[in-house]
């Protein structure tokens, strides 16, 4: 039994699917932002997996560097998204993005 590129990529794809599900199926702004975070994390895991198992010895740090950048962008997106969620809550007293539909 081994753990290689295929296993980590499958888990990464599943995590991305969970994030996409949260983004399209939930209406809470916080859960939608969390869904985008999971999608970013899945991309980071895929980068690291390719760097560790698929790029060769000369490029094995490249995937980790890309994952680092993706994680930082994810945190930035989280900050902006939560600020927008705070404004939605301030307006509607609710995190639901379709709260004004009546």
């Amino acid at each position: 039994m081994t753990a290689g590129l295929n296993l980590v990529l499958m888990a990464s794809a599943a995590l991305f699917a969970i994030g996409a599900f949260a983004l399209v199926a939930r209406r809470s702004a916080i859960v939608m932002v969390l869904g985008t975070q999971f999608m970013f994390a899945a991309c980071g895991i895929a980068f690291v997996a390719f760097g560790r198992f698929g790029l060769g010895a000369k490029n094995q740090n490249a995937g980790a560097a890309m994952a680092l950048f993706a994680g930082a962008v994810a945190v930035t997106e989280l900050a902006v998204g939560l600020a927008m969620a705070a404004i939605v809550y301030r307006e509607h007293r609710n995190f639901a993005l379709d709260a004004d539909r009546g």
């Binding site: 290689g4 060769g56 094995q60 740090n61 560097a65 900050a79 404004i87």
Partner: protein, 188 residues
């Protein structure tokens, strides 16, 4: 001379393979829980657990610098932002569960079991120092020597995001169309 060097082999150490499988299963489970839970505070807790599990996965397959940044910066900043938002909006009340209630005891038992599992893996293998860090070294020099522009852009993005989110939080709100009026309310 090959352009990419020797291709690394998959992980074959049995305890480490079990650890990777366990971390991946827990990661997907906690992510699913975070998405499906109705209680926002529980969803945030499951999200923080997912980020910790991503760091544990990185511990097995990535340089230690990425593990440290994922655990100490990304996870803590994300959790702090989410908890701060909940405190500022819905408010967080203290737990009504007593200190020695069965919930706390079960939680402590699960935490102790996970820590014991990590201890067993650490004791049975030379991981992580003999595995990840022996193979993959020098992410810091790679970042500063090969990706200096990326680091600079990242600093600008982080700073502008901090500025933008702060401005959004202190900005006056717009009245909703249902309540009439489209003019911007000014808070004095």
């Amino acid at each position: 001379m090959p352009l990419i060097g020797a291709l690394p082999q998959p992980i074959t150490s049995t305890p480490l393979v079990f650890f990777v499988y366990l971390v991946l299963i827990l990661l997907l489970g906690s992510a699913l829980a975070s998405v499906l839970l109705r209680n926002t505070l529980y969803a945030v807790g499951a999200f923080a657990a997912s980020m910790v599990l991503v760091a544990l996965l990185y511990l097995a397959i990535a340089p230690f610098l990425l593990v440290a940044i994922q655990l100490l910066v990304f996870t803590t900043v994300s959790a702090a932002l989410l908890i701060g938002l909940l405190r500022a909006t819905t408010g967080l009340r203290t737990s009504s569960v007593g200190r020695l209630s069965p919930q706390w005891i079960i939680g402590a038992a699960v935490s102790a079991a996970v820590l014991a599992l990590v201890g067993v893996v650490l004791g049975a293998t030379s991981w992580p120092t003999g595995f990840c860090c022996g193979i993959i070294v020098g992410l810091g020099p790679v970042l500063t020597n090969i990706y200096p522009v990326g680091l600079a852009v990242l600093a600008v993005i982080l700073a502008s995001a901090a500025l933008g989110s702060g401005l959004l939080l202190i900005a006056p709100t717009l009245p909703s169309p249902a309540r009439g009026g489209g003019s911007r309310t000014v808070r004095r």
